[in-house]
């Protein structure tokens, strides 16, 4: 199979679909989307509960972030066909010792640490980047005489929870310089109860009915992109396609793969420019993971939206994680959906360790890890066993290689990385994806949507110039 298209889009996630929508609207309809997976949506991945009809868990993005500036949320409100829920009501912090930790016990210290970090790099832009953990220690060395030890312990536990469970990465690896850089959320967070697959469906509805079958080719991974000529040639395993423009919407992590034997490897002709090589280490993703626990009944508060489990200890051996080694956030589906389920957020290396547990004993090991944590929010003396456990596998997913971008020690600022892609290789070779937009939408579903909008506009403008 071959074919000549005006635009080929690689990836049928929200970025690629939005690119197609806007191109189509702009009069460009000779479009092909190549998708390596067997379904559209990319890292927007909803699964229906087998135990609770009408309940959907999102294994990828789960929230409309930036509720004041999120076109996907605005559209959901307008269409009225998406169930959503502001899960920012009552929240409870707790740790191994206390079933509730009032926020005054840490919040001013937490705020001051975050301020200390940003002041440090403002005052001395040449200060070497260190890990989030190291800079907390640096602050402590300077200020410990001013801080109550109990409040200090709780403050760094919250620093860790905020850093690790936004970036999906251990504070040992997170860049002190940039970890809280994009922290200015534009409004509240809204849980997408319907599941993001319905959001994707709303987008698809903006394309012609037949588009999905005629213009999207599933199970088709790109092996080679030859842009040595004016017409771009794209080779998949069996087929070749050519086009005037290509928009790549891959997760950024995939651009760092340089092993030709890797199934996700893409050969570029000519090679990607030096900047890509130089920075490719920082394309690697963190991994915000999720573990869904379904129970036969609710034995915790029915009204608390989220439980924040603070960790005061650190993993001795990442391959053999112990309860309380990592902070977690438990999302209460009893509160948001009326079913006895909790969704725990995890970070690397835990997310990866869980994915790689021996399948035979996996559920048992997961429950061993979380049982003592869930016991702290339990009204029952011993929490009953879950009836079902699900977990994400973003690290082992060869088309994702992690959940989304993170900020590791030594990384350049987010703008440098996003611009590398946003500027494109040329006016023909374009990049979209949530990791190609800077600011608060970086790494979010609506960021992907913005990037599709941006690239479609770029191409339409470029075509118009030539007329």
């Amino acid at each position: 199979m071959t074919g000549k298209y005006e635009v080929i889009i690689i990836g049928a996630g929200i970025s690629g679909i939005k690119t197609a929508i806007d191109l189509y609207r702009g009069g460009v309809n000779n479009i092909l989307i190549l998708e390596a997976r067997n379904c559209i949506g990319g890292r927007l991945k909803s699964v229906k509960s087998e135990n609770f009809p009408h309940v959907t868990y999102d294994l990828g993005a789960s929230w409309f972030h930036d509720a004041l500036a999120n076109p996907l949320f605005d559209k959901a409100r307008e269409l009225g066909n998406i169930d959503y829920y502001f899960d920012d009501g009552e929240l409870v912090y707790f740790d191994k010792d206390d079933k509730t930790v009032p926020s005054w016990k840490f919040e001013h210290i937490t705020d001051e640490i975050i301020c200390y970090i940003s002041l440090s790099y403002l005052k001395d832009p040449n200060k070497p980047d260190i890990s989030l953990k190291q800079i907390c220690q640096e602050y402590y060395e300077k200020k410990h005489d001013l801080i109550d030890p109990d409040r200090w312990g709780k403050a760094i536990a919250t620093i860790r929870i905020f850093g690790e469970l936004w970036h999906g990465e251990s504070w040992d690896n997170l860049s002190a310089k940039f970890v809280f850089d994009e922290d200015g959320h534009l409004g509240r967070n809204v849980l997408v109860k319907s599941g993001y697959s319905k959001v994707i469906q709303n987008e698809m509805n903006e394309l012609p009915d037949k588009f999905e079958t005629t213009n999207i080719k599933l199970n088709t991974s790109v092996k080679c992109i030859d842009y040595s000529n004016d017409i771009i040639n794209i080779h998949t395993g069996n087929d070749s396609f050519s086009c005037d423009y290509v928009v790549l919407t891959l997760p950024r992590s995939l651009y760092s793969i340089d092993d030709p034997n890797d199934p996700s490897y893409i050969k570029w002709v000519p090679e990607l420019p030096g900047d890509f090589k130089k920075l490719s280490h920082y394309f690697e993703a963190g991994s915000l993971g999720k573990v869904v626990f379904e129970f036969s009944e609710c034995f915790w508060s029915e009204t608390v939206d989220r439980f924040y489990a603070l960790s005061k200890q650190e993993p001795k051996n990442p391959n053999d994680p112990q309860p309380w080694d990592y902070p977690t956030i438990l999302i209460n589906y009893q509160a948001n959906s009326g079913v006895p389920a909790l969704v725990a957020l995890t970070q690397n290396p835990l997310s990866s360790t869980i994915e790689n547990f021996d399948p035979k004993t996996k559920n048992e090991r997961i429950w061993q890890l979380f049982q003592p944590v869930i016991a702290q929010i339990s009204n029952a003396k011993v929490p009953p066993q879950p009836i079902n456990i699900l977990h994400t596998s973003w690290n082992n997913d060869i088309w994702a290689r992690g959940a989304y971008c993170t900020s590791k020690v030594g990384c350049p600022d987010s703008e440098t990385l996003t611009n590398l892609f946003a500027k494109g290789l040329s006016n023909k070779i374009r990049f979209a994806g949530s990791e190609t937009v800077d600011g608060s939408a970086n790494g979010c579903a609506h960021g992907g949507w913005f990037s599709g909008q941006r690239e479609a506009k770029y191409i339409l403008d470029d075509i118009a110039k030539k007329l």
Copy 2:
């Protein structure tokens, strides 16, 4: 009396004193400070409790703000002779209906309103400035279907408390555009238990012992500044002085006085430039006031540092304020100093109304206002009468005319106002004062200190240029 000085500093507050210190260090010792009051310190004004020995209340500045970037706090730590206290431990929000309002009931809405405000003016820089109250209403009109009414009520009550009790001004008058503009505090707040007069004393100790008697002239208000010649002439009631440089450190509000019969009026020869006239309306200060209540025993929590009283009603008649008309913050001196006293923060117009209560019934009226509020934090059924009430009088203070700068509807951005002064009238006529520095130190004691440092350096550099 006459005299010729190298530098005359007008005002012996922290800005003027710091200017003198740095000039002195730089070799300029022919300095005179003219001070209208009968004491040094300006709006740093500590009073000793008559009931509780060793307890001092600050009627002006009370905290080292910006603990991570405050040279006065650093010096206090170094010298070890200032008692200080981080009063950011347990805090309790409450209102007329509830003795405690958990922060989750408002904080995400509060944050979103603040975000909405900044986004509004970012998206449309030409959007007219409106009051803080109006923009809250605007937000509500757009978002009310997304917000639980109870949380909404509490959120605007907190918006009001944060805005009004930082700026000392009613949300009816506060500029939506700028009210939360300078909100990036650089670290925690530290209560100066010793009283700021001790901080002033530490500064004075950096000058020669005799400086206070020989170089500071108290009870001397400036009537006229003639800068029509190279040598500047300064006329007080009875005397004339001349100098090469003058540094004015007056509260900004005083520069707006244009009535020659006003005791604080200063005649400028030639007149102040047009920019000063044009903007003088915005020099007017807000008035963060304080009311000190001393009791014979503590009938409230001994450990809570601050109680935040949210108001859900608005004053019908500012001249006849009713309990709960205004939000207030109660600072718990039982927690910070071990004495049964509470200090309530007030804002205009309440601060002014209190100052103008008939002296005969003043204490009774003040207690009528605060008794129901204090009853909400009381363990006693009926709170016992205070044994003493003190209050600030910054509005009626002719050398202050309010507490410190505020941001009223229609005002220019803080930088425009501070720069107007910071750039000086010429290299001879300089301005210092906490209201001439931008950023988080604006309006704070350490802001005054920074401004003194800045102006001394300016003059020393200017002198060096001529050598």
